[in-house]
Structures are given as C-alpha cells and as structure tokens.
Amino acid sequence: MDNKIAAVTMRNITKRFGPTLANDKVWLNIYRGEILALLGENGSGKTTLMNMLSGIYFPDEGEIAIDGKPVVIRSPKDAFALGIGMIHQHFKLVDVLTAAENIVLGLEGKLDLKTAAKKIREICDTYGFEVDPDQKIYDMSVSQKQTVEIVKVLYRGADILILDEPTAVLTPQETDKLFAVLRNMRDAGKAIVIITHKMHEVESLSDRVAVLRHGQFIGDMPTKSTNAQEMTNMMVGHPVVLNIDRPEPDDPKPRVEVRDLTVRDVEGTLKLDHVSFTAMSGEILGIAGISGSGQKELLEAIAGLQPVESGSIEYIADNGQREQLIGKDPLAIQEMGVALSFVPEDRLGMGLVGNMDLGYNMMLRSYRSGKSVFTNRKAPYKLARQMVDFLEIATPSVETPVRRLSGGNVQKVLVGREIANAPSVLLTAYAVRGLDINSSYLIYDTINAQKMRGVAVVYVGEDLDVLLELCDRILVLCGGKVSGIVPGRGAKKRDVGMMMTKLGGNAHE
C-alpha cells in the first residue's frame, strides 16, 4: 500500500471556529480500494475534517491534493467535480419527490427521468442496492432513504465516498446489507471513509483506521493489526475499561404498570397496540425494536405527552398506593409527587432549548420552585457547574448556549439534568445515540447508578449488543405490539433480532 498514490491527501489542515481549534494540523491519506474508518470522540473534529473535503467548510490552513494534484474545494459543487461525495447523518432529501427526482435534483442539463432511472438501476445492479427510482421519499424507511443518498452521490460520479455515522439509524440486518454494498464498492476501486463509534463495525468492515483526538491526528494503522481496546485508548488518550456493569437488581418491586396501552397518532395510525408490561424498581427494562415500532409513543405516553386511546398506566408508590398517569400532563404528574424523568430522543427539539445556556437549561425543571414571581438563577447555575465537573461536559462555560456543544455533551447536559431531579422512574430514548465510547460508558455508569438507587429505568436502545449487556429484562416491540419480554442475562442477539422483525420471533421454536 505504500507505493500507491493516495486518492486524497490532506496536509496540515487547520480549522478554527472562533477560539475552538476543531482541526489542528491534520494529515490524512485516503486510498482507493480501501475502507478507512475515521475514529475519534465527540468533538474530536472528524466531521469537520470531512466537511472540508466535501466543500462545506474551507480550511483556514493546509492543502488538499486529489491523486497527487493540489486542489481547492470551495463548495460542494467543487467537491462533486473532484468525485467526492458525502452522505451526512441527516438526510438531505425532498420528501414529496421520488428517488429518481431527488437524485437528479440540482444537476444541469435536460431533465430526463427515464434515462436517469435506467442509470440508477445500473448503479444498483453493480453494487447490490435495492432502490425503486419511482418511489416517493415519504414512503421510504430510514435505510431506504440512506440508500437513495448513497446512489445520489454515485450517480454524480463520486468515487471517493464519505459516510458520517451511517449505521446510527439502521437495524442490525440493514447494517449488514449496507456493509455488503460498501465492500462491493471498495472492490470496485472506490475510496470509502466511514465515521462511526461502533467498534465491532470498525473491526468487521474497515481496512485501515485513523484516529483523531481533540482535533489532532493521533495515528493510523491497518485494522487487522489492532483491536477495540487499543483503538479506544488512542481515541480517549488513556486506557479505558470496555465492560458494562450489570449488578443484580436489589429488591425489585413493581413501579409502573402498563396495561393494554393503545395509542394512535394524529393521522389515526395505530402506534401501540395493547401493550402491557411492568417496570420494576431497581431494574433496567430495555426496549428493543426497529426504529418507529412505537418506542417514542410508549415513552411519551408514560411521560404524559402523548394522548392515549385506551389502556392504563399506573404508578405504584413505595407504600403501594396506585396513581393513574393517563390523562395527566407532565406538570400534573410532577404535582402528584411522581418524580418521573425523561430523556427524549430529540434532545435539542424537546429536552433542551438550544439557544439557552447550560444554567437556563437546568432551570427548565426547577424554575417553578419557590413562591417568588422571579426565577432563582443561582441554584441552576450551581447545578450546571456541578454537572460539568461530574459528567466531564466539555464546554467553554455554563453560559454557553447548548447548541454550540457537540452531540455527546448536549446529551450529558440532558441526562445530568434529568438525574439531578432524583427520579423514581427514568425513561431514556436512545441515550447514547451519536455518543463516543467514553461518553457512552459514562452514560451507562450513570444509568446503572440510578438503578442501584432503586429507580425503575426504561431504556430504549438501538444497539442490541448494549441492550443485551446492560438490561435486566428486554421488551421487544414489533409494529406497536409486544413481541416478547426476555431476560437480559443469557438472551441471544439473533433471537432478539428475529423478534424485532416478526411477532414472537422464533424464540419459542
């Protein structure tokens, strides 16, 4: 590999955002016929580096060369002209258009959808994609949308592909499919860069890994000659223990009893169909399922944010007294004395206010306290400072708007605030989505600490490996129905995966 000319050479790349050094003299080579995994903690500058390659940002210093020739990439258009295509975490598709229309959108020349559809089918056949050019985007699953994004950049002639956390939204089966396609593309001589946090994916897919830490290039090596532990240590900068604790539940008692819960969304689609389960104190109940199987509605119904069609959700206090939660809004639930904390999926859209600073976001839960008409600002800022220390939140100050923080730190702010509430029930949705290893483990530890406090934890997750390691019991949802509840200890990944796609799975074979 040493004599090969790099498809992309990035030399001495530096990018600042104000005082923050996002990339500090980074050198990186990307080769054709190779899958490069770009690793690093949240905020280590991976996405920034790739954004400079795809023309979204312009580097403050440094040079980029394609096939040995120095180039200047000023816009995404320049990047496309050089054969560089990036698939972002958030898809950039027009919902009401078809796949083919989205793919040709913005291209110059005559609009000829028939030829386009033919070319799209050719691309699909070459690499093993499954895309219907005439299907509308709004009819597609997340994984299909992602496929359209990939075909879109291939259609434009990209032979250097960058994928930013492509598997964050996919089921295990979809991930396998994506990886097969990526391997095909590699074998066809394309250069592929994948940004991911999941170590087992790095190990199974990539040929080479490159590690960034705090904006600096730490090193690269062939994947074969390294392992998860070494890569993690390089990312974090010090040795990390890669084990999730699972202490035995201490005296579990029923805490939240859900019976025959049925929920329809505003369009009248059935989202939850007679769901019944009991969440116990001192226990982590995992919720597994393909995204959109009713996880969001389930948590929001318990939290008092989702109108319910029928069923019952009862909170059982320590003295055995039962309180019906249905029909009560979050304020009423709080006033009943039920300490219910909720870490929603959409952190900046629901759990936090992006334009407000850390202190003001802490205040969201506490601002009502006291009789005064004025808010108490000292306590939330003090809490914010404690949180910054305790959860190692990387922020310039507690007066920084949370939207300026990286994803992992935003999540820490949210989880920190919800736990500071001393909950007796903790609902979390995708608590570690987009978080790096170090932050993820910190969140697992924090959740475990809550479990040991006797909190009933409901953990909606997407990473089956984590669910199997962390949870005491796992409830599998499939199309809004309970596909089964299995004990976390000893459950097989394959069985749970089957239950996610088929009611009951083959667990009872």
């Binding site: 955002f17 005082p19 040079e63 959409d346 629901m350 206010v353 992006g354 205040m363 004025f374």
Partner: protein, 366 residues
C-alpha cells in the same frame, strides 16, 4: 478537472464572541461610514454642503427646547409601542397589530372622556380611562391569541387584519362624536373643563409620558429577564415541544403574553389621547405599531437597547423633516439618508458575527 486551481482570495468564517468594546468599535465605524456615504450622496445629488445638512438634521431634534421635548415625546411613544410588541416577539409570536391595539385603547379612552363627564368626578373618569384603555388593547390582542392558542391560526395575518377593523371603528366614532357638527372630526375633547385630561407637570406637558414609559421600560426588562413568566415566554418561543415537555401550558402562555402585549398598546393609546393630543383621529398612532417592529428587532428584543434604537429612528425621522423644509429638498431625500444609515448599522452585524480571512501564501509550493 482541467480547471486551473485558484486559491480564493478570502473566505468567510464565523467569529467567536467579540469583546463588547470591539463590537461597539465596529458599530461606531459603521455609523461613521454611513455619515461619510450620506455626505457624498448629498453633495453629489443636491450640491448642498453635507456639513450644513448634518447640522440641519441635528437641529431637527436639538435645535430648540421645544424640538427636544417633541423628540423625547416621540421616542417615548414609539418605545411604548415597541415595549408592547416585545414580549410577544420573544415568544416568536409576531404581533403586527400594535397599531390597532393602541388605536382601540385610544378609542376606549376617548369614549370615557366624552361620555362620562357629568356622571362621575374627574378622578373616577381618569380611573375609568386607564382601565378601559388597557382592557380594550388587551381584548384586541386577546382575540387573535385565543384563535392561535386554540386552533393554531396564523397570528401575523390575524393581528394585521385587526388593525383595519380598529381604524374603521375609530373612523365611525369620529363621525358619531364629531365636534363641531359636520366636521367629521372629534376635535379637542373637553377643551374648557379639561375633564379626563391626565394631570401634567406644570412646565412640561410631555414629561408625564416620558416618565411613565421610562418606568415601563425597566419593568418590561425585569419581567422578561428575571420573572418566571419571562422564562416561560422564552422557552415557548424557542421550542413549543420543550415547553410542553417540562409541563408549561403553551396555550396559557400565548394568551397571557398577548394580553400583556395588547394592554401595553392600550396604554400607548391612553397616553396619546388622554395625555398629549386630547383628541382621537384614525391616524393618531402614526404607524408606530409598524415602526415598533423595527425598533424591537434592531435591539434584538432587549428593552434597554430599544431606548437607543427608538431614539435613532425618531432622530433620523425628525432630521429628515428638518432638511426637507430647510433646503427645500423632497422629504424622500431624508428617507434615503435614513436608509443608508440603517443599511450600514444592520450590515455591521455581519462583521460582528463573521470575519473575513484573507488567504495567506496563495499558491505556495511545499
């Protein structure tokens, strides 16, 4: 791909927060640039001496004590309406009905002044005027707020339409209460008895308004920044879903805030009719309901900065009027100068938020 690689001469990058003195240096430079530009335009287009034109603009506001007090009164009234729209704006609720809300407040005030004398003592009339004006303004804002909270209607259109209803209502009552008969206008109300006229400081007929608005400005600032209500307004404005998530009743906050917004508009109507003009015309608010939008935005919804922005707009407006009369120029010329100045000031915000980096060592070999 045979394109010659050209390194761009400069690119734009987002700045970190600037220290306040640098930000103000940039704003000052923008103002200076604006004045120079205005000078150049003036001498090129009219041949007048720009220094003399600037002098005239200055004299329009500070030429005589009377002009100075008129300036203060105009600032006070514009600021009052701007303070009214700001709580709604902070909630991202675009209340464009301040014009009508102030007008309907003025109508309620005038009604008390015309109908109540003889039935109630003067102090009771004034009390009724205050209550009626605030209430009328609040109701005028409350109607669109109710529909927005309940049915999620668009508040921008709704409040805008309410302006026309208010104007027509006032035009109708101007005929009902016309004095003298046949004039179609109300004229000075109770000119002899001065019943319902708000008490004035002996020497300064505008001082009361100025003081009331100054106190109001501080109160609104405290309300928005330090009270629980103000916090709820900010959360609802930023994200309704987050507000619901923490148990804030969004509908209640929308209605409450719009009622407050309308009530302050009603106060502006009260001051215009009961304290300054002692009459009512359909144009008594004089477009302040719309100018207030600019005042509030320019100050980024900060009541204290709004003193500055309302001063700027009133000062420029008065100056435009002055040069129109003094140099026989069209009044529009003053508006052109105002436009140039506002362009520079608003444009300077770009340089406060972004910096332009010139590429060093373009095309260097390594």
């Amino acid at each position: 791909m045979n394109k010659k690689t050209k390194t761009p001469l400069f690119h734009v990058a987002k700045r970190a927060a600037l220290p306040w003195y640098k930000a103000w240096a940039i704003r000052g430079a923008a103002l200076l640039l604006a004045l120079v530009l205005c000078g150049v335009i003036t001498s090129l287009v009219t041949g007048e001496d720009p220094i003399a034109v600037y002098g005239a603009i200055w004299k329009g506001s500070f030429g005589t004590p009377r002009k100075f007090w008129v300036l203060l009164q105009n600032i006070a009234m514009l600021l009052c309406v701007s303070l009214a729209v700001t709580p709604a704006f902070r909630m991202r609720c675009w209340n464009l009905g301040a014009e009508g809300q102030a007008l309907i407040g003025g109508l309620a005030c005038a009604a008390c002044m015309i109908l109540l004398p003889g039935k109630l003592p003067n102090w009771a009339i004034i009390l009724c005027m205050i209550v009626a004006s605030l209430l009328a303004g609040a109701v005028w804002a409350g109607i669109p707020a109710f529909f927005k909270a309940r049915y999620n209607t668009n508040e921008t259109l709704f409040t805008l339409m309410m302006n026309y209803v208010a104007t027509q209502l006032v035009a109708f009552f101007c005929v009902v209460w016309e004095s003298p008969k046949g004039s179609g206008t109300i004229g000075i109300i109770n000119p002899n008895t001065q019943l319902g006229w708000l008490p004035q400081f002996p020497s300064q007929k505008y001082l009361l308004n100025v003081l009331i608005v100054a106190v109001l400005c501080v109160l609104v600032y405290i309300y928005l920044n330090y009270s629980k209500h103000g916090y709820e307004i900010a959360v609802v404005g930023e994200s309704e879903r987050t507000a619901r998530y923490v148990g804030i009743k969004v509908e209640k906050v929308i209605i409450r805030t719009m009622l407050l917004s309308g009530a302050i508009c009603g106060l502006a109507g009260l001051l215009l009719v009961g304290s300054t003009n002692h009459t009512l015309t359909p144009t008594i608010v004089d477009g302040r309901g719309f100018t207030a939008v600019m005042v509030s935005w320019l100050a980024k919804f900060n009541p204290i900065w709004m003193i500055l922005t309302s001063f700027l707009l009133v000062f420029l407006g008065r100056g435009a009027g002055e040069i129109a009369t003094k140099f026989g120029l069209n009044r529009s010329f003053g508006d052109i100068l105002t436009g140039v100045i506002l362009f520079c000031i608003i444009g300077s915000e770009f340089f406060i938020n972004y910096e332009i980096k010139f590429t060093r060592g373009a095309g260097k070999e390594d």
